[in-house]
């Protein structure tokens, strides 16, 4: 597969067309109908949660949030291979992967409401918090890969970056270190066409982003990231290389950010309606739904019912997060060091004294 879709040939790996017809039967991943349907439901939940989060932000009930709308199939595919012990090292637009790893929506809400507590991920093993400095997390993933190899563990690291992140030095250093060290890391570029306002066509002169791995000696592939089956197949093959051969892999998943960069951004300033319409036809949910409907695994009525159920579930978790309570002053201080140094204790104490004085006024 990696040979046939060598990124130097600039050939996009896909399995399903935009109407949900399987066009490349030989690349159909090893997946049951039941699992495909469950994956669709999970993607539906992620989309519902994402759209509702944006509207909560518009209502002033949550702070800045980076939408995932339109990119659901990438997480959908990775989720098919993700094991409990595997690591996920995200950037900040990986809602579907967080949920697949065991993070709760409530935790995600807490984080974007402004509580670090949301990054504790109580029930998600080996999931790192959001990493804002672009592409830096790829090196963390590579370091974790070293630990896996060093202690001969049966684990794989999945790490994520956007198209803009491929211009950062850390992207290149991470690919180089991972390749030199031969560590089990799957690098996933969510190429959603835009780094905020900057189109990927202007980001690089390379023919695609996957090709950047060639010089570092990694296998890589450009895949239709809006095609759940293509994503799943690529995830399966990449996981196999990483797990069995300790080989790092770069996956460029082509997609489109249907929403804004964050809730503070207005994409109408830098992209056209025509372009948005063009990608609308390739929407990952629409394609998957057509496929499932054609196999009589899913219909509009079921979709409607599940949508209503998910709406309630999102609301429930949002309300729980909204009622989380006060952020204690001590929490500002207490997680910086193993033991709080005197200098921090003094600053905390002095501020408490001030607060007491203020209360008395």
């Amino acid at each position: 597969m990696f040979k046939e879709y060598d990124p130097l040939k600039n050939k996009l790996f896909s399995v399903m067309d935009k109407d949900g017809n399987i066009t490349h039967e030989k690349w159909m991943p090893d997946i049951t109908d039941e699992k495909s349907l469950q994956a669709y439901k999970n993607m539906m939940f992620a989309r519902k949660a994402d759209l509702m989060t944006v509207s909560y932000q518009r209502q002033g009930r949550i702070y800045t949030y980076p939408p995932n709308y339109g990119q659901e199939a990438i997480a959908g595919g990775i989720a098919q291979v993700l094991r409990e012990d595997d690591w996920v090292v995200p950037a900040y637009r990986e809602l579907g992967v967080w949920l697949a790893k065991g993070a709760t929506l409530k935790e995600v809400f807490l984080y974007f409401m402004g509580y670090e507590d949301g990054s504790r991920f109580e029930n998600a093993k080996h999931l790192l918090p959001v990493s804002v400095p672009i592409a830096s997390q790829l090196l963390h993933a590579t370091g974790i890969g070293y630990e896996i190899k060093y202690n001969q563990k049966d684990e794989v690291v999945y790490t994520f970056v956007g198209d803009g992140g491929t211009s950062e030095g850390d992207f290149h250093e991470a690919l180089n270190f991972a390749s030199v060290w031969k560590v089990p890391v799957v690098f996933v570029i969510q190429n959603n066409q835009y780094a905020i306002s900057f189109n990927v066509k202007n980001q690089t002169s390379s023919r695609n982003l996957a090709v950047k791995a060639v010089a570092y000696g990694l296998k890589s592939i450009q895949v239709d990231g809006n095609d759940f089956f293509a994503m799943t197949k690529v995830a399966q093959e990449a996981a196999k290389l990483a797990r069995e051969k300790q080989e790092p892999v770069l996956v460029e998943a082509l997609t489109y950010r249907k929403g804004a960069h964050t809730t503070s951004d207005d994409p109408s300033k830098y992209r056209t309606k025509e372009e948005e319409q063009e990608w609308e036809e390739k929407d990952p949910m629409k394609r998957m739904k057509s496929y499932l409907a054609s196999k009589e695994l899913w219909d509009d009525k079921q979709e409607e019912e599940l949508d209503a159920q998910y709406k309630k579930e999102v609301e429930r978790q949002f309300e729980e997060a909204e009622n989380y309570g006060e952020y204690p002053l001590e929490d500002v201080f207490k997680y910086h060091y193993d033991e709080m140094p005197d200098v921090l204790k003094k600053q905390l104490y002095a501020h408490e004294k001030y607060l007491k004085w203020k209360e008395g006024q």
Binding site: G143, E147, E173, N176
Partner: protein, 322 residues
């Protein structure tokens, strides 16, 4: 034992004791480091544990974050402190923040070793002393030994610490000082300054390589009949406020010596301690004897920049006679 040998000995002890400890950086493996600090360690512990990494400081620090998160204890080297800046993004954005960001679920506990300081007739970027920028970053500890004994004990403590530690090595005195140091394991506590000499007229604070010049200045002070209390900070953050403040309360005078630039430096911080903690005891304005707020000059000019024993003495005398 020289300082270089003491550091090597501390690394040897921790590598032997804890399988999670790995050492990597540029030229630290096969060659044993450009200053030979890690000499012999790869031979003894193998190339999985002591190794040369690709030449990329961001890559070195960034991968160490991942190793630490996964439970290892990386002890990484920045070949010179002036080369650390490509890795600075990870230090300030992740190393210092991982514990707080994850509410204690993950830590980024590691040791970042870097030789610092001038007076070695070096090329550009090889002489700076930028400890203050690390001291300013919440979540880090910053350690700067001045003797072989402290270098060993502090490094062992740094490797055992659950917090990330920036360990700055006074390369000018790597081989200049020899001291009897036990081959056995011992700790020097991070965050505790050392009162090297008791005195009553003036408190003099320094650390790292400048301790030697300061001690030479003290010989001049002794001749002049000035009784100096000398404090070796050992740790830049967290500063040992109590030791500094109680000494100032005793002497009423404070002179701080470092080779780093003057403004926003460690000496300024100590002067704040003097004012905030011992204002009513002060007999003279707190004094800073430091490098200039300039770029460190190339070799022909570095004698202008470095504080000398004579200059340190000159300021001590002025402070005492104020």
């Amino acid at each position: 034992m020289t300082l270089v040998k003491a550091i090597n000995n501390a690394l040897d002890i921790k590598l032997n004791e804890n399988k999670d400890v790995v050492i990597y950086g540029e030229d630290v493996g096969y060659e044993g480091g450009v200053f030979r600090v890690t000499q012999g360690l790869q031979e003894k512990y193998g190339a999985q544990r002591v190794f040369d990494s690709p030449l990329a400081e961001s890559g070195i620090v960034g991968t160490a974050v991942g190793m630490a998160v996964a439970g290892m204890k990386p002890v990484i080297e920045m070949q010179f402190s002036g080369f650390a800046y490509p890795g600075f993004n990870h230090i300030i954005s992740h190393v210092s923040r991982m514990r707080n960001r994850s509410r204690g679920k993950y830590t980024s506990s590691m040791v970042i070793r870097m030789p610092y300081g001038g007076g070695i007739k070096a090329l550009e970027h090889h002489s700076e002393s930028m400890e203050a920028i690390y001291g300013h970053i919440p979540g880090l500890k910053v350690v700067m030994p001045s003797t072989p004994h402290d270098a060993k004990g502090l490094l062992i403590s740094a490797i055992e610490s659950q917090d990330p530690v920036i360990y700055m090595e006074p390369k000018r005195i790597y081989r200049a000082v020899k001291q009897e140091v036990s081959e056995d394991k011992f700790n020097v506590q991070i965050g505790k300054a050392n009162v090297v000499q008791q005195g009553k007229d003036v408190t003099v604070v320094s650390y790292g390589a400048m301790m030697r010049d300061t001690q030479k200045a003290l010989a001049l002070a002794k001749k002049a009949g000035i009784s100096v209390e000398l404090i070796d900070l050992r740790t830049i953050f967290p500063l040992d406020v109590d030791t500094i403040a109680s000494s100032i309360k005793k002497t009423g005078r404070i002179v701080t010596v470092h080779e780093a630039p003057n403004s926003f430096g460690v000496a300024s911080e100590i002067n704040s301690i003097a004012l905030e903690e011992s204002f009513l005891h002060l007999e003279a304005p707190p004094k800073r004897v430091t490098g200039f707020d300039t770029i460190f000059p190339l070799p022909q000019g570095e004698h202008h920049y470095m504080p000398t024993p004579e200059k340190i003495y000159y300021e001590i005398e002025k402070t005492v006679k104020f």
